[in-house]
Amino acid sequence: MNSTSKPLHIQLQSFLLARKNYYELLHLLFLVPTNDEFLLIIRNYGNLQELEEIHEGGRILRNFFDHLTDEQIQREYEEFHRLFVGPGPLVAPPWESYYRSREHLLFEEWTYQIREQYHHFGLQFKNENNEPDDHLLFELEFMVRLVDLCLQETRTEEIVALISSQIHFLEKHLTIWVPYFCKRIIEHTSSQLYLGAAMLLEDLLSFDLTTLLEVREALSSVRQEESERAIIK
C-alpha cells in the first residue's frame, strides 16, 4: 500500500493544467482574428514546434504562424466571416444545435441542454435568448471553467464528479457535433489557420474524452482504496 503518495489533486494538477491549456488554445484559434495580438500570443507562447511534432494540425498551424503577416490576418478575417459569421449562408455554422437538429436549426433542444449545464454550474451565457448558448466558443469556455473548478478542488469525490461532468459534456455534446463541424471546415477552406485548427480541435476532443474516461476509472480504484483504508482504521 502506497500511503506516502502526494494528495490526489496535486497528482492531477499537471494533467489538468495541460488540458486547460489545450482548451484555451482552441478557444483562441476560433476567436475572430481582428486583433493580431492574440495571434501573436499563439505564435510566441504556443510552443507550436512541439505541437508540430505530435499532430498534423499542429504542423499546419506552425507553418501558418511562421508566416503570419498583416495581409494574412486580413484574409483570415474574411475567411472567418465566410465560415462562421456571414452575411450569407455559412459554410460551418458554429452552433451545436445546427448539426444535431434534423432541420439544421438554431435554438433547438440541444441549446437548452447546454443552457441547463451552464446553469447547473452557476453560469449563464451573457446573451441568453439573444444568441444560442451552444456556440463552439462558449462550449470551449465552459470546459475551461470546469477544468478550473477541478483545479481548485481538493476533495476526491468532488474531483470525480467534476471529471464526470466533463466526460458527460464531451460525450453528449462536443464529440458528437464537432466532428461534423470540423469536416465542413476541412472540406471547404483553403485557410491553413482554420484547416489546422479544425484538425486539432477534432482530435483533441476525442483524445480528451478517452483520457478522461481512463482517469475516472483509475480514480474510482483510488477511492475504493481510500474507503478500504477508512474501514481498516
Binding site: 491549456n21 438554431l106 453560469l123
Partner: protein
C-alpha cells in the same frame, strides 16, 4: 491491481507517452478570463420563480405581414424565451362569418425561418466592389452614423428627388415596416422621389378605372355562394393566396352547384381542386378568346341590351361619345365592320389555341347561366398589353349584365374592401414628383430625361437621377425586377446610385448590392397588426413573441436613431414605440371606424378580429340600383366600354379606346419565335411568397424549383423529365431542372417566380431565377411590368 487502474502509473508514465500531453508549451497564455477572449459565461442570475413555472409553455398569437394576400394566425409556443413550435388557427370551419385563418405550408415553416442559421445577425458595410458580396461587420453606431451622413450629403448635393425608397413587399401589410420608416425619415429631411402603382396588378390598376372609374370592381367572397357559373381566368388561389378564407368560399360555391371553369396555360392546383373544366390557352392571347366570346354573345343575341343601353358607353354606334365615329364601337369591332375581321371563334382559335367549339360553349354558358362571375387573376395582365386583358374581362361582364348583381362579378382588377383599421404611422412627403414603380431603373439611368410619356407625374422634369436607394425587406433591387443582368450592371456602377441601404433577414440577391446591410427582424420579434390584401373582413394581431435575436433591429427603431442623429427623433417617433402604434390603431379604430372592434387586450388575447356583415358586398350595386344618384366615377358617369380619354391619347394601336386583342411582342405571332420558339411564363409558387422563403429547405422539399414543359416540346429537344436544362434568350440564361408534364400547354414553358438569382462564375444563374429572362420594356399605358411576356429557347444543359 492492474496497470490500467493505477492512477499514478497512468499519470506519471503512461500519459507522458501520450502524444498530446507531450505539448506543454502554452502554459501561461493569458486567456479567456484574463484578457484576450471576452468572457461570455457569467454568473447565473437565478430567477426566483420555481423550476416548474419555468417549463410552462406560453402560446402567443401573432402574424406575418409579408406580401401574401391572406393573413393567417400563427401561434407561437414559447418556452424559456424560445419559440419551440408554431401552430395555427384552431377555429373550426363552417361558419363563414368567422372563417378559420389557417396557415398553409409557408406558415408552418416560420420557426425554421426564425431560427435559420443564415439569418443576418449584425450590421455590415460593403468592403469589396458593389455586388461582389464582401462585407465587414460594423457597429450599429457606425451604421446609423453612415446612413445619417449619406442621407444628408446626397440630399444636399443632388436635391430630395435623388432619394428613393424602392418598391419592397417583405413587410407590407402592417402598421409600420421598414419602407414606411425610411420614407418618414426622408420626408422629414426634405423628401424623396415617389413611386406609384405596383408589380402585382400594375396594368390593371391603371386600365380598369378607364372602364369603371375605380379598381374596386370586386364583390365580397360570400357573394359567390349565389353564383351559378364561375370563370377563374388566370387566377390560381390554391397557390397564390388572395385571401386566407377565399378557397373556403369557393368550395362552398361549388357545393352550392356552381360550375367552375379555369382558363390558364397550366393545369394548376386550382384547376385540380375546383374546376369542372380546364381551358388551356396561350399566354398573351386571352383577349382573342374574350373578343370571340363577345362575338358569340352578340351574334347569338345573348347580350343584355337593356343593361348596355342604360349603363354603358360605347357598346354600339348609338352609344358613342360625342365626336367619335359609330364604327369605333365595341360591337362594330367584334363584327369586323371597320377592319373586315370578324372576331369569330375560328379566328380566335388560330391565335389562342382554344378550339372554336369550346369558345362558343363557354360564351353561351357564361351568357346564359346567371348569375355568373368572371373573376380575373393578374398573371395575364403582367403582359405586354395587360391593360387589354383587364378591360376585356370587364367588357364581357357588361355584355352579359353581370355587374352590380348578387352572384355576378364585374371583373377588372377586382379589389373590394369594406373593413379597415386606422394607420397611425404617417408622413407627408414635400416632394410631389412620382414615377411608375416599374421604371425605377430608368430613373437611375436617365431620370432627368423622363417625361409625362414615361409616366412622370407631379413635375415636368426631374432635377436629378436617383442617387440613393433604401431597399427595406424587398428583393426588387435585383431579383424581382425584370432583366436582372441589366439591373446588376446598372447598380454595379457606383457613380450612378451612390448609396444603397438594405435591411433584410437573409442575404438575398438584393441584399448583396447593399452598401450598408442591416439585420432586420422577423414578425416574431416586433409588434404589429396584419391586414389581408384588400379582400377580407379580418385583421390579425401581430404580437411580439421574443426579443430580436442577435443584433437584429426593427427598422422603426433604426430610423428613429438616424432621425436622432439629425436632431429629428421627436418628429419621427412623436414619442411612440411600435407597441404604442398598435395600441393607438386599436383605440382609434374603435372610436373612428368600428365600435365593435375589440380592446387592445381582447384583440391580443383572441389574436384575430372578424368584421361581421349581414349581407354580401356587391360591386357597383349602388350604381346599378340608381345610376342617377350614383354615377360611375368615369368622365361620362357610365361604364366606359369605349373610353374617350384613351381615345384622345391618340395611340390607338397600343392604347385602344375599347379592349381588344393586340398581337404581343414576344407573343405567339412575333417573328422572333423562329429563334426563341417557346413562350415563357412564371407563376406564384406555393412554396414561396414571391421570393420570400426561397432559402427554406422544408419548402423546397414541399415543391422544388423546376420548370414545366409539355412532353411535345421536350421530345423535340431530346429532353427528359428531371433533366437539367438551359433556358435562354437575348437577355440572359439560366439553368434549371425540368418537369415534363402535360399540365402545361404545348409551346409554353413555366418557371415559378421568385427563386434567388444564383450566378456561377460565368454569370449563368443556377437556381432558375426567371427574371434573368424578362424584359424591362413597360406596358403601353400603365408603364407596368410585362414579366410574363417572354420568348425563350430551351436545350439540355
Amino acid at each position: 491491481m492492474s496497470d490500467k487502474k493505477n492512477l499514478k502509473e497512468l499519470l506519471s508514465n503512461k500519459m507522458q507517452r501520450r502524444t498530446f500531453l507531450k505539448w506543454s508549451g502554452a502554459i501561461g497564455i493569458p486567456v479567456i478570463a484574463g484578457g484576450v477572449g471576452t468572457k461570455m459565461l457569467i454568473d447565473h442570475k437565478e430567477e426566483s420563480k420555481p423550476v416548474s413555472a419555468k417549463a410552462v409553455e406560453k402560446v402567443i398569437s401573432t402574424c406575418s405581414i409579408n406580401n401574401c394576400g391572406g393573413r393567417c394566425v400563427i401561434k407561437a409556443h414559447v418556452k424559456d424565451g424560445v419559440v419551440v413550435r408554431v401552430s395555427t388557427d384552431t377555429q373550426v370551419s363552417g361558419d363563414l362569418s368567422t372563417p378559420p385563418l389557417r396557415a398553409c405550408v409557408r406558415g408552418r415553416n416560420y420557426r425554421n425561418m426564425l431560427y435559420h442559421s443564415d439569418r443576418l445577425k449584425y450590421p455590415m458595410k460593403r468592403v469589396g466592389k458593389r455586388g461582389e458580396g464582401k462585407f465587414k461587420r460594423i457597429s450599429w453606431e457606425e451604421a446609423i452614423e453612415t446612413i445619417a451622413s449619406e442621407v444628408k450629403r446626397i440630399g444636399d448635393k443632388y436635391g430630395p428627388e435623388s432619394r428613393y425608397v424602392n418598391y419592397a413587399s417583405g413587410q407590407s401589410w402592417g402598421l409600420h415596416g421598414g419602407k414606411n420608416a425610411a420614407r418618414k425619415l426622408l420626408a422629414l429631411t426634405g423628401g424623396f422621389l415617389n413611386y406609384r402603382n405596383d408589380y402585382s396588378s400594375g396594368a390593371g390598376n391603371v386600365a380598369t378605372p378607364y372602364t369603371y372609374g375605380t379598381n374596386n370592381s370586386g364583390s365580397s367572397f360570400d357573394s359567390l355562394l349565389h353564383s351559378k357559373y364561375i370563370i377563374l381566368w388566370g387566377q390560381n388561389p390554391s397557390e397564390m393566396i388572395f385571401s386566407t378564407p377565399y378557397r373556403e368560399y369557393l368550395m362552398q360555391a361549388k357545393k352550392n352547384g356552381a360550375k367552375i371553369i379555369v382558363i390558364d396555360p397550366r393545369y394548376t392546383d386550382t384547376a385540380i381542386a375546383f374546376a369542372d373544366e380546364w381551358i388551356p390557352i396561350l399566354p398573351t392571347t386571352d383577349n382573342a378568346m374574350m373578343d370571340a366570346m363577345g362575338y358569340v354573345i352578340i351574334t347569338e343575341k345573348l347580350h343584355d341590351q337593356a343593361f348596355l343601353d342604360k349603363y354603358c358607353l360605347g357598346f354600339d354606334g348609338d352609344h358613342m361619345p360625342e365626336g367619335v365615329a359609330k364604327e369605333e364601337s365595341l360591337k362594330s369591332y367584334l363584327l369586323g365592320e371597320k377592319d373586315g375581321v370578324k372576331k369569330t371563334p375560328e379566328w380566335a382559335e388560330k391565335i389562342c389555341g382554344v378550339p372554336a367549339g369550346k369558345i362558343r360553349e363557354i360564351a353561351r354558358d357564361y351568357a346564359n347561366t346567371k348569375p355568373a362571375a368572371l373573376i380575373q387573376g393578374w398573371a395575364a395582365q403582367r403582359q405586354a398589353y395587360g391593360e387589354q386583358f383587364m378591360r376585356g374581362g370587364a367588357q364581357l361582364a357588361c355584355l352579359t349584365g353581370n355587374v352590380g348583381k348578387l352572384g355576378g362579378w364585374a371583373a377588372g382588377t377586382g379589389y373590394w374592401s369594406r373593413s379597415d383599421i386606422v394607420y397611425p404611422f404617417s408622413y407627408e412627403n414635400p416632394v410631389k414628383a412620382s414615377i411608375p414603380c416599374f421604371l425605377w431603373t430608368k430613373a437611375v439611368e436617365k431620370g432627368t430625361e423622363m417625361t409625362a410619356a414615361d409616366g412622370l407625374e407631379g413635375t415636368e422634369k426631374l432635377a436629378t437621377n436617383i442617387k440613393c436607394i433604401f431597399n427595406m425587406a424587398g428583393n426588387m433591387l435585383i431579383n424581382q425586377h425584370a432583366d436582372i443582368n441589366k439591373t446588376t450592371k446598372l447598380l454595379e456602377d457606383e457613380s450612378k446610385v451612390e448609396f444603397i441601404v438594405v435591411s433584410d433577414i437573409f442575404m438575398t440577391p438584393s441584399a448583396k448590392y447593399a452598401d450598408i446591410l442591416l439585420p432586420g427582424t422577423t414578425f416574431f420579434e416586433r409588434y404589429d397588426i396584419g391586414v389581408p390584401w384588400c379582400f377580407g373582413d379580418y385583421v390579425v394581431f401581430g404580437d411580439k413573441t421574443i426579443d430580436p435575436l442577435y443584433e437584429c433591429r426593427d427598422e422603426y427603431d433604426v430610423f428613429a436613431e438616424v432621425a436622432d442623429k439629425l436632431g429629428l427623433k421627436e418628429k419621427f417617433t412623436e414619442g411612440k414605440t411600435t407597441l404604442d402604434l398598435v395600441k393607438e390603431s386599436v383605440e382609434r379604430t374603435r372610436k373612428e371606424l368600428a365600435p365593435d372592434f375589440p380592446s387592445f387586450e381582447e384583440f391580443r388575447k383572441n389574436g384575430v378580429h372578424h368584421f361581421k356583415y349581414d349581407e354580401p358586398l356587391i360591386g357597383f350595386k349602388e350604381q346599378i340600383d340608381d345610376l342617377e344618384k350614383h354615377p360611375f366615377e368615369t368622365p361620362s358617369g357610365k361604364i366606359e366600354l369605349f373610353s374617350k380619354a384613351l381615345w384622345d391619347m391618340n395611340q390607338h394601336d397600343e392604347i385602344p379606346a375599347i379592349a381588344k386583342y393586340i398581337p404581343s411582342w414576344e407573343g405567339p405571332q412575333d417573328p422572333m419565335k423562329k429563334k426563341f420558339p417557346l413562350q415563357l411564363i412564371s407563376w406564384h409558387y406555393k412554396r414561396r411568397c414571391h421570393s420570400t422563403y426561397d432559402n427554406q429547405a422544408w419548402l423546397e422539399e414541399a415543391a422544388k424549383q423546376e420548370m414545366w414543359m409539355n412532353p411535345k416540346d421536350a421530345e423535340k429537344r431530346g429532353i427528359k423529365d428531371g433533366d437539367r436544362v438551359q433556358v435562354f434568350n437575348e437577355r440572359g440564361s439560366l439553368i434549371i431542372d425540368v418537369k415534363v408534364t402535360p399540365r402545361i400547354t404545348p409551346g409554353v414553358a413555366g418557371i415559378p417566380q421568385g427563386a434567388w438569382y444564383t450566378p456561377d462564375q460565368a454569370g449563368i444563374d443556377q437556381r432558375g431565377s426567371v427574371n434573368v429572362l424578362t424584359s424591362q420594356k413597360p406596358t403601353a399605358l400603365a408603364k407596368s411590368n410585362p414579366q410574363l411576356t417572354n420568348l425563350v429557347e430551351v436545350k439540355k444543359a
